[in-house]
Symmetry: C2
Subunit: 335 residues, 2 copies
């Protein structure tokens, strides 16, 4: 493949006998330039084999081909696939991503980034959080280009937000347990103050209500860890409640529950079926793709993709939009 020719727009302008600005406008089809001049410039460009220079194109069109991306702790395990999904989607649309990582909760610390993004004449902005436990301060008023919030709520309900569907994840997990023959379903919940945990639990109630079932046993809340999940499962067993399945609020809790059940001589899924949320690769999936646990995937890369697409080809309307979770069936639930 040959190198990009080094023919410049100024060469084309000289050959066509017009100014640089006129040549630029002509090649961009600016209607203020006469058809004859546009034709003359186009012919000169063809003769010189001038490759449309993206810089000149940007300059003339006022569009930078660049989307600003403000990430909140992008190194975070959950934020990373979201940001990656967004950036790959931007690339698929020939948009570059100018990514500033910082604390999007700190409006003051964001000021420099905002100024720089304004100066770069970005065509749109993505604000990417690390979950929706905290809403991000709305930055939309700083920009006259579309802004989308991904994996975080905005403080302004009129903003465009893309969020994981935790309620649907809870419903889907519980429905899978119902569909595979379980009728007495208990819950090991996440932290009581967590919005994600609350929504997953609400989804569980939706599914149970739809099937005319009641939750089995007390809800035992845990933090999100394996160690505490194991303890929570022991408490649930000690409660004397009768249950044939447990919806665990995340995979780590489910893996802890699995250990407690194994230690108690309970067979999974025959005695107790288990399901988690996150479908955390490497944890519930071995390196060859085989899996330990049934789980619900929140589709975080897809969430990033949808949010990025909203700026150009997708839906950019006010309020909350969701990515659709998917079920990943493993050996911890009945088939």
């Amino acid at each position: 493949m040959p190198k990009a020719k080094s023919v410049r727009l100024s060469d084309v302008a000289a050959v066509a006998g017009v100014s640089l600005a006129t040549a630029s406008k002509a090649l961009n089809g600016n209607p203020r330039i006469s058809a004859a001049t546009r034709e003359r410039v186009r012919a000169a460009a063809d003769r010189l084999d001038f490759r449309p220079n993206a810089l000149a194109r940007s300059f003339a069109s006022g569009r930078s081909g660049t989307i600003g991306v403000l990430t909140h702790r992008a190194k975070n395990t959950f934020a990373r696939p979201v940001a990656m999904g967004a950036i790959l989607q931007l690339g698929a649309q020939n948009q570059a991503a100018l990514v500033y990582d910082g604390d999007v909760q700190e409006t003051r610390a964001m000021a420099d980034s905002i100024r720089e993004l304004q100066a770069r004449r970005i065509d749109g902005l993505l604000v990417i959080g690390d979950g929706h436990e905290h809403a991000s301060p709305s930055l939309t008023h700083n920009f006259d280009v579309p802004v989308t919030y991904i994996f975080t709520a905005s403080s302004d309900p009129g903003d465009v937000m893309y969020l994981p569907d935790n309620r649907e994840a809870g419903r889907m997990a519980t429905q899978h347990l119902i569909d595979t023959g379980n009728t007495r379903i208990a819950h090991l919940g996440g932290p009581e103050t967590s919005i994600a945990a609350q929504r997953r639990r609400a989804g569980m109630r939706d599914a149970l209500a739809g099937a005319g079932l009641q939750p089995a046993g007390p809800v035992v809340n845990s933090d999100w860890t394996r160690v505490r999940g194991a303890v929570a499962m022991a408490e649930l067993l000690a409660s004397g409640a009768e249950f044939d399945a447990v919806f665990c609020a995340n995979d780590h809790i489910a893996l802890g529950a699995l250990e407690t059940c194994a230690a108690a001589g309970l067979r999974i899924p025959d005695d107790i079926a288990l399901i988690g949320v996150d479908n955390w690769e490497g944890t519930v999936v071995d390196q060859d793709g085989s899996r330990q646990l049934t789980s619900v995937d929140l589709e975080l890369m897809e969430l990033g993709r949808l949010g990025a697409a909203s700026l150009t080809t997708g839906e950019h309307t006010a309020g909350e939009h969701f990515s659709t979770p998917t079920l990943a069936v493993g050996p911890s639930s009945r088939s």
Copy 2:
């Protein structure tokens, strides 16, 4: 914060009484423009509170402020942190990332991406692979800007490459076992044909030789999975070899080994110390940061960061450069 003013370069040019091109060159300090004109344009820009427009700046300077990034299967678990580290570093240097994901082994499939990157007048290119099992075809000759290969070797040894240091990871893991009092160290290796596995094993030999030790027992090769790791550990135990520690080629093998040891009633780390490689978050680290396993971290985000920095502020010299692994001490090795 106010919106970016809509004052345009053409306004500045009109006020200063110069052409658009002259105004652009003057603001960019082009020495072909007289000092007096530069001063006049600068004064007009100040009076109008003209924000330096990145598009005009790019156009005048011929620099796009954009780095091309060709990723090979960026969704891959290992490639993702590398790409993320690179993109965050680019952002920290005010460089946008135009990311095209595809198969970098397929030169033909890359042709469109290469042409688009040339047209965008990128200031540099990163080619990001998914490990160094296969070298990527060199694309350097297609570009007249610096090109760096990250997480993949290039077919041209004269290219600039940034790779994880698998040999150092093997040495570091083994040295840790030696430093914590183990003298009879066995190895559960990865696939024999894997370059990463070979280098990790070579690093183990380095550390043993440095301490005047021999490997304990046969090397049992495995694939990279937990299930096969458990079987390999059983084979090692059945071999009758005497050992007090095992360097496992990755975390999944180590976790499988852990299960086999637990089932055999062996105490970890008192009877057998175990160490893995990857420090796979979520797998060896619980969600609250507590850990199951001692491991060596290949520092993949740092690898991406170093590779991206090589285009601008870092070292851009031919050959292989490495990120430095770090030791993550957990409960599976002695203290």
